[in-house]
């Protein structure tokens, strides 16, 4: 059986423009010949510093930008090269969670409207009381009180907003969740709630997840395997504890040496 997500020789090069009329400026290899697989139900941690290409990689997987070269397959189906309409249809299968839930939720929609819209991408005929029931079930699943479904995003705290964003990502019943720094903007005490929630969702729903973060301690905790990215390339990939405790790539060692640690334990 093929892996759930297979990325083969994926590249994305952006042209560098020099001067007013473009000219020949070379290119930036934001993603440079990346190959990796993610198994069903696995959480893959993707770490790297700003500018390493991890966001470009996630936008490629989400089919938001076309790759320069390479293929992406989800559950055996090749996504790269599909016509635009088909990409839109398939997009339900992979959903994203962003760092700043406030920026990614429509401030003028109630939680009900946001979630109902997302639910209907998968079940267009859902309406009336069954739609309300589905929204309530979704809110329940992410630990929100369904009694709040008529409220607006600004009426919620940061942690609750991230729960709403997670609920919206779950609504179209995706097979793959791409979480881009989902806890970086949250306070320590809220961060632990969201991490617990993501682990619980993986257990209950068998979700496959790519968890992007700059925080190695968080990734070590939540991910099954860790991929370390530098300058567009995956420099190391392996089982999380192994990468964390016995890194083989020099760059991983540099990263690990840099994280502040609580020494006295």
């Amino acid at each position: 059986m093929p892996s759930h997500l297979e990325i083969e020789h994926l590249s994305k090069h952006f042209p560098l423009r020099s001067g007013l009329f473009g000219g020949h400026g070379g290119e930036v290899r934001a993603v440079d010949d990346v190959s990796l697989t993610v198994e069903r139900g696995e959480i893959l941690g993707l770490v790297g510093e700003s500018g390493c290409g991890k966001s470009t990689l996630s936008r490629l997987v989400m089919q938001l930008i076309p790759p320069t070269a390479g293929t992406i397959r989800i559950a055996g189906d090749t996504l790269t090269g599909l016509p635009a309409g088909e990409v839109r249809r398939r997009r339900r299968d992979f959903q994203m969670i962003f760092q700043d839930p406030y920026a990614s939720l429509n401030p003028r929609l109630t939680i009900y409207s946001t979630l109902a819209e997302a639910l209907r991408t998968r079940h267009p005929r859902l309406s009336g009381s069954s739609l309300i029931d589905s929204v309530a079930a979704l809110m329940d699943r992410v630990g929100l009180d369904p009694g709040f479904m008529r409220k607006y995003p600004h009426e919620f705290s940061g942690g609750q907003r991230q729960r709403i964003a997670i609920a919206r990502a779950l609504a179209p019943e995706p097979q793959l969740i791409l979480a881009d720094e989902p806890v970086s903007a949250l306070d320590v005490s809220i961060q632990s709630q969201i991490l617990n929630l993501l682990r619980q969702l993986r257990r209950d729903l068998g979700l496959t997840m790519i968890f992007i973060s700059h925080d190695l301690a968080v990734v070590r905790y939540i991910a099954d395997r860790i991929a370390v990215m530098q300058a567009g390339k995956i420099v190391e990939i392996g089982e999380a504890d192994r990468v964390f405790h016995e890194p083989t790539a020099d760059y991983t060692r540099t990263l690990l040496a840099a994280i502040p640690r609580i020494a006295s334990r």
Binding site: E49, S50, D187, S192, R199, H214, A217, S264, R265
Partner: protein
């Protein structure tokens, strides 16, 4: 005698939604050369504490309701703005989370670095420029004599933070207030900036007040740590002691909720609920609604728990509810 002694500082903001007690009776001291940490979550009042010492909170809506901040024999809270100008940026320097918001984008770095020297020390422009270049070299900026004439946007985030540190330390202040100085930086750059602050501090003997939400950063840079919650200090201890034997329920819960200290596969401890609404008076223990100790029903409700010294240098709010063992948590 401590270099800085803050006693019962109270700061509030008078807003349309009522009086928000952002800092509610905070006391601490800073000794020469020492690094004192203030750790807390967003909205706990850690930045307001430091900003109010330098007259940097907007008034109105901000108002200093009481307290003293004795620095070298004078109460900073009583100084007029012109008097504060002789302290701010000269004897007490400051660096912020985002260097881009505190550097003037229209001015070359050189203009911004020489300004405090000309203003505070009366140096000539040429002499000030020499000192500025030396300071750029001291914070590890390559080719400082050329780079000093660049604009802030021509530097990377880490280099900008170095420039900020150079600017804050150029007048050899006795205290450096660092407000989340590495939060916006990548981990390898954070390492360089933390090391740089420590190195410059050792060379110059500067005391540092380090504000952060990051417990790991605290554990690396601070000598003494204050844990802040809802405008109050709930615990203060030497850094190692705070991590080996935390006393207050909030401190213990925080430590149990960070992934770095937990075994993989085990659920993280979570603190239920939200921080209290500071626009309502809190007569008793501010953590009581979220406290999950076995003795939580003993949390003080009628009077505020006092900070008491439980063991030498280890202070904690004396709330019987918050000192009991945490429920369902192997860490406690």
């Amino acid at each position: 005698m401590p270099l800085l002694s803050v006693e019962d500082l109270r700061v509030s903001f008078h807003t349309r939604n009522g009086i928000v007690r952002a800092v509610d009776g905070v006391s601490f001291t800073v000794e020469r050369g020492q690094t004192v940490g203030i750790v807390g979550e967003s909205g706990s009042g850690k930045s307001v504490t430091c900003y109010s010492l330098l007259g940097l909170i907007p008034k109105p809506p901000g108002r200093i309701e009481g307290g003293r901040a004795i620095f070298d024999g004078t109460d900073l809270l009583q100084l007029s703005d012109p008097q504060l100008n002789t302290v701010r940026g000269r004897r007490i320097g400051m660096i912020f989370q985002d260097p881009m918001t505190s550097l003037n984008p229209y001015l070359r770095i050189s203009a911004q670095l020489v300004e405090p020297l000309i203003l505070h020390e009366g140096l000539s422009r040429a002499a000030a420029l020499d000192r500025a270049i030396a300071e750029m070299a001291a914070v590890g900026i390559p080719r400082p004599a050329d780079r000093i004439h660049a604009y802030p946007h021509e530097f990377s985030g880490g280099m900008r933070q170095r420039v900020m540190i150079a600017m804050a330390l150029i007048t050899r202040p006795e205290i450096l207030i660092a407000d989340e100085p590495t939060t916006a930086l990548d981990v390898t750059i954070q390492r360089q900036v933390l090391d740089l602050i420590k190195a410059r501090q050792a060379e110059l003997g500067t005391a540092v007040i380090f504000i952060t939400h990051d417990l790991a950063v605290v554990s690396e840079v601070c000598d003494q740590v204050n844990v802040m919650y809802a405008g109050r200090f709930v615990e203060r201890a030497p850094v190692n002691e705070l991590f080996t034997s935390p006393l207050h329920a909030y401190t213990r819960a925080l430590q149990a909720s960070i992934p770095a200290l937990q075994t993989k596969g085990e659920d993280l401890y979570t603190i239920s609920g939200r921080p209290p609404d500071l626009s309502r008076p809190i007569p008793g223990c501010a953590f009581a609604p979220r406290c999950e100790t076995e003795t939580r029903d003993q949390c003080l409700t009628d009077r505020r728990p006092e900070l008491v010294e439980k063991s030498p240098n280890h202070w904690v709010q004396d709330c019987p509810g918050c000192l009991g063992p945490l429920r369902g948590n192997p860490q406690s």
